[in-house]
Amino acid sequence: MPSIVPTFAWLEGLAWTTALRESPYGYPLIETSHVACIVVFAGLVIMMDLRLVGLAFTHAPLAQIQRRLFPWQMASFVPSTATGILLFCVDPLRYYRNVFFLAKLVLLALAGLNALAFHLKTYRTAEGWDEDPLATTTARVTGAASLLLWSLTIVSSRLIPNNWFK
């Protein structure tokens, strides 16, 4: 299998990634924007999850919370992904072997699949239990899984600078 390392080395050597890496403001400002967007995105996803598991906003119909929060989740998800990709491009050789970075990618994929399953299957039946303070068992399990996956994603993201397992 061809190694990905030369591609990452090429990416790291580009003029703009080098400039961003060496600038005293480039990397910190992109990372801070990344964190600010993620906090809003994940924060709103967690609010939706807390409604799903029946821990908060139980008086509000689920569809209403979901429909009104979704545009804001997307408005913060898009820039957080863009800044995340940018951060990776700046230092790919540092990240691609970092355990916490890899764990974050796996957790993100799982959280994405969980959200997709919810939207394609569980949410379709939501009309029947929309106003119940306690959602169906499947919906609650999806909410709990989302809570766990996003929490672990955030924790592993913050641990990336500590490369404990080399």
Binding site: V35, A60, Q64, R68, N162
Partner: protein, 158 residues
């Protein structure tokens, strides 16, 4: 003036334990970020509602009351995970203008949230002109994002 307090924090057994351990500080920091995320989520849902963009089918007061419980629990977790980070690095933080700025901003923001924002959120619907509730939502959002952003920047420019 506060130097003896910072020195006392620095000398605590807990601070020493944090300095001696490879894992304690980063793990506490990661949990702090998680608690901040939950806290900010509960703030943003309320602010969006104040701005007229959130779950408008629900009254501002009912969203605020439900969010308040989350704010209290997440706020407690932010505090519990924030204190050891502060005491461990007290001597560094006392010289950090960003840390001092974040703390002043946090004090103002907490005061605003507990007084103006809360009063406006639980006020009877229609009693206040909509520009007032929208302005309070916008100010709250700006203040809390300011606290979050300045907190993150301490790592770089503190």
């Amino acid at each position: 003036m506060l130097l003896p307090f910072f020195e006392w924090c620095d000398g605590l057994a807990m601070s020493q334990a944090y300095r001696d351990s490879t894992y304690l500080f980063p793990l506490t920091q990661a949990l702090h970020v998680l608690a901040v995320t939950v806290f900010v989520g509960a703030i943003v849902i309320g602010d969006l509602r104040l701005l007229g963009w959130g779950p408008v089918g629900q009254s501002r007061a009912s969203i605020a009351r439900s969010a308040q419980r989350i704010l209290l629990w997440a706020g407690l977790a932010v505090l519990v995970t924030g204190i050891p980070q502060f005491t461990t690095n007290a001597m560094t933080y006392q010289r950090s203008w960003l840390f001092v700025f974040k703390m002043y901003l946090l004090a103002v923001t907490l005061l605003f949230t507990a007084t103006v924002r809360w009063r406006v959120a639980i006020a009877e619907e229609g009693r206040l002109p909509s520009w007032v509730t929208r302005a309070v939502g916008a100010v709250s959002l700006a203040l809390w994002m300011g606290v979050t952003i300045s907190g993150r920047l301490i790592t770089y420019y503190g």
